[in-house]
């Protein structure tokens, strides 16, 4: 009869800490943690010392103090007596404004260019690839500055609109494109206008619902209902109908020359415009490549199979190629949107007050509170 003996209990030796794979990872992590804690403590200690030397302390009270500076383009009410907190909110909104506008325009231009890069027309194809290569390979900061310079240099100044035989004239008496920015008519909402707006939103919802319905109908029953003209009709008819029935409750306020500058209407500064355009066309070049790659990723067999089923080219694109291409296109598209939003912090180069400009720029300069 044999007895099963326990394996001998290994005595723990110090060298196991580095040579034995069971313990080695613990050793390494311990060392890393110690190093990290030491680094943090060192940096923190320096910070405390430096702040004490500079007579500063960490507090966020400054956010409540009056900012004391003006911001040239704002979406919400703001004046120089508002708080730093308010100023940073203006910055956030400005960042969002340029990011959203940029994303929309970049998508439109990018999809357009991406599809044209696959066009059967050789000349268009080459033209578009030149566009993509030029814009992809040059820093966006340079583009922002170039477009800014073009706006200032090429477009007329407000004083050129003065007089009877002015050098420049407004487009339809409503739009003024000047070197200082664009002046657009602004809508004035009178009582009853909310009905029009509500109708418009409702018709947008109706369009989505209708298009979903046609898709379901097509997939379930194979019946193809018309989509283009009902969409257009839903878009325009109810809103216009409501608009005229209620006696035109929304009117436009036109910009007018007053003194040395235009008054009234919506004023988009050229810093906003150049940032918007530059970010859009720059990102559009990347989006165009994504779109092209997405469309190319759909195998040729899919197109041929659809064609052999007797579908027309337009419908092949809409029903077969695009749904499959979108699956490839969307993830890089999202990351391009993120890039655009991050690049919008370049606003500071042209003096557009976004978050970096308000909080990181002037507030920082005034209060000297960099760390918070």
């Amino acid at each position: 009869m044999s007895t099963v003996t326990d394996p001998p209990v290994e005595s723990f030796r110090l060298s196991q800490l580095i040579n034995d794979t069971r313990y080695r990872s613990i050793t390494f992590q311990f060392i890393a943690l110690i190093l990290l804690i030491f680094a943090m403590a060192y940096l923190g200690w320096n910070l405390v010392q430096n702040l004490a030397a500079a007579g500063l302390n960490i507090s966020y009270d400054f956010l409540g103090e009056p900012a004391g500076y003006d911001i040239n383009q704002t979406l919400i009410d703001y004046n120089s007596q508002s708080t730093h907190w308010r100023a940073s909110m203006v910055g956030v909104l400005n960042t969002l404004l340029v990011a959203v506008m940029g994303c929309i325009m970049a998508t439109i231009v990018g999809v357009f260019v991406g599809v044209l890069r696959l066009s059967p027309n050789w000349l268009i194809r080459k033209l578009m690839s030149v566009y993509v290569e030029i814009f992809r390979n040059v820093p966006v900061l340079i583009w922002i500055l170039i477009i800014m310079a073009v706006f200032v240099a090429v477009l007329p100044q407000p004083r050129d609109f003065r007089g009877d035989d002015a050098e420049a004239s407004m487009l339809w008496e409503a739009f003024a494109f000047t070197g200082r920015g664009f002046y657009l008519p602004a809508p004035i909402y009178e009582p009853g206008s909310w009905l029009v707006v509500t109708t418009f939103i409702a018709s947008l919802v109706a369009i989505v619902v209708y298009r979903r319905y046609t898709t379901r109908k097509l997939y379930n029953e194979g019946v193809l209902l018309p989509r283009a003209w009902p969409t257009a009709a839903l878009f325009f008819v109810p809103t216009l109908l409501m608009f005229f029935v209620l006696g035109m409750p929304i009117s436009l306020e036109y910009p007018e020359l007053a003194g040395f500058n235009f008054q009234g209407g919506i004023y988009m500064r050229n810093s906003l415009l150049s940032l918007w355009f530059a970010l859009s066309i720059y990102t559009a070049a990347f989006i165009a490549e994504n779109v092209r790659a997405g469309i190319l990723a759909v195998s040729k067999g899919q197109t041929e199979a659809a064609a052999s089923l007797g579908m027309r080219p337009n419908r092949i694109m809409n029903l077969v190629v695009l749904p499959q291409a979108l699956r490839v296109i969307i993830p890089p598209l999202i990351s391009q949107y993120l890039n655009l939003t991050k690049n919008s912090s370049l606003a500071i180069a042209v003096g557009y007050m976004d978050l970096t400009g308000t909080l990181g720029g002037i507030t920082l300069n005034q209060t000297g509170r960099a760390i918070e």
């Binding site: 580095i18 040579n19 992590q29 940096l43 027309n121 040059v138 820093p139 340079i142 500071i348």
Partner: protein, 431 residues
């Protein structure tokens, strides 16, 4: 029968007819144009629009180039010569050529050092870029960082020599201890290198004039050279850090993994320009009181941190794309982690991630223009600052910006073309 047939038929051809030429519309230029330019009315319309656009661009740019003035000293003189006709004042480029390339503070008589450093950079990069070149050239690549530093910043040759000696001694120590374990080897490397640098410090202080070039402080760097320095240094530094971060993120050790994840995600969530502001303003608070070190080094640290986070993500993609079997095969051969990573995993993962790394590198090179925002005078900073603000050249936009676009386009486009070529070279699978 055949006789009769011969009589009943008047003529029988006995030789083959020569092939007929295809119709003119199916060959050559005409066919190509019909296929590619004029297929259907929509296509034709697009061609016409494209030709119109090209004509507009060429008609605008051509006289501007041809009538360009290359040798005046100010914009006013240039406008006087042009007399209102269209033409570019390219003389701003010739007159400010050195400023555009080297900044406005670098000593004029030392420009040869920069040019030499640039040429040597090409020589050092060649064996890395093209693997057909002899492997011996890689020695020069290893030496280049020290030579380049000495040429650009000047000072005594001893400083880079000591740095180099530190690496060499460290490497020797590593080789000696490597058979025990990789970790011990790394530790030995660190200790030996630090001891060498510490001792070398005395040598430098005792002989500051040994083979010294005129020292140039880094705040005097500027122009396109600054972009090149930042781009090259940061890309080459961020590669090893990126690899380490990617491995750390893949590792089984939770603490190390979380340190890497937090670092990567934090850096990726913040725009580079914010990091540069941090480098400019905040970083000084975190250092011992009284230490100041150059803005350019702070900027290099920040851009390297930024780039290595992105490169880490790219390499992580490469690591994840490797089939599981490769890791298991390496384990079953009895290789430990360091060997497996060095010999099996990394060569394959890096190959997969080349396009991504090149994308990051191009993006990084473009982002070096951002340093102009924190008042460093790189190419963009030179154009916006000293040149456009000077009385002679106030108002020259197209020529200067066109030049900047041209320089960046050349560099970035050739890098991306190179990466496509490299991908084709490294393609070992069958397609």
């Amino acid at each position: 029968m055949s006789d009769m047939h011969a009589h009943s038929v008047a003529f029988v051809r006995e030789t083959m007819l020569p092939e007929q030429e295809p119709p003119a519309s199916e060959v050559g230029v005409v066919h190509w144009m019909r296929e590619n330019l004029f297929r259907g009315w929509a296509n034709t319309l697009m061609t016409v629009i494209a030709i119109f656009v090209i004509y507009k661009i060429v008609a605008g740019a051509f006289p501007w180039f041809v009538n360009g003035i290359w040798s005046t000293n100010s914009l006013a003189e240039c406008r006087e010569i042009l007399q209102g006709t269209t033409g570019g004042c390219f003389s701003v480029l010739t007159e400010r050529w050195n400023q555009l390339l080297f900044g406005f503070k670098y000593p004029q008589d030392q420009y040869w050092r920069l040019i030499l450093a640039f040429v040597l950079l090409g020589l050092a990069a060649a064996p890395v870029l093209f693997n057909k070149l002899p492997k011996q050239m890689l020695f020069f690549t290893g030496l280049y960082p020290f030579i380049g530093f000495w040429l650009i910043w000047g000072g005594t040759l001893l400083a880079p020599l000591v740095a180099l000696a530190g690496f060499l001694v460290g490497f020797a120590a590593f080789k000696k201890v490597e058979h025990q374990s990789f970790a011990m080897g790394a530790l030995a490397f660190l200790v030996a290198a630090l001891v060498t640098w510490f001792l070398g410090g005395f040598a430098i202080r005792s002989a500051p004039g040994f083979l010294a070039l005129e020292a140039v402080p880094s705040r005097d760097m500027g122009g396109f050279m600054l972009n090149m320095i930042l781009g090259v240094v940061c890309v080459s530094l961020s590669l090893p850090f990126g690899i380490l971060l990617a491995l750390g993120r893949q590792s089984d050790m939770p603490i190390i993994k979380w340190i890497c994840v937090v670092f990567i995600e934090f850096i990726r969530g913040v725009p580079l320009i914010t990091l540069l502001f941090v480098a400019n303003v905040v970083l000084a608070y975190f250092l011992p009181p009284g230490t100041t070190f150059d803005l350019i080094i702070r900027v290099i640290i920040m851009i390297t941190a930024f780039a290595s986070a992105y490169i880490a993500e790219v390499i992580r993609g490469g690591l994840a794309a490797l089939p599981r079997g490769q890791y298991e095969a390496a384990d079953s051969l009895g290789l430990d982690y360091a060997q497996a990573t060095r010999l099996i995993i990394m060569p394959q993962a890096l190959k997969i991630s080349i396009p991504g790394i090149v994308n990051v590198a191009v993006g990084l090179f473009k982002d070096t223009t951002l340093v102009s925002v924190i008042s460093m005078f790189d190419l963009v900073g030179m154009i916006r600052g000293p040149i456009l603000a000077s009385t002679e050249w106030n108002g020259v936009y197209w020529e200067l910006w066109g030049f900047a676009v041209f320089l960046f386009f050349i560099v970035c486009y050739s890098i991306s073309q190179y990466s496509q070529w490299l991908e084709r070279q490294l393609q070992t699978d069958h397609r």
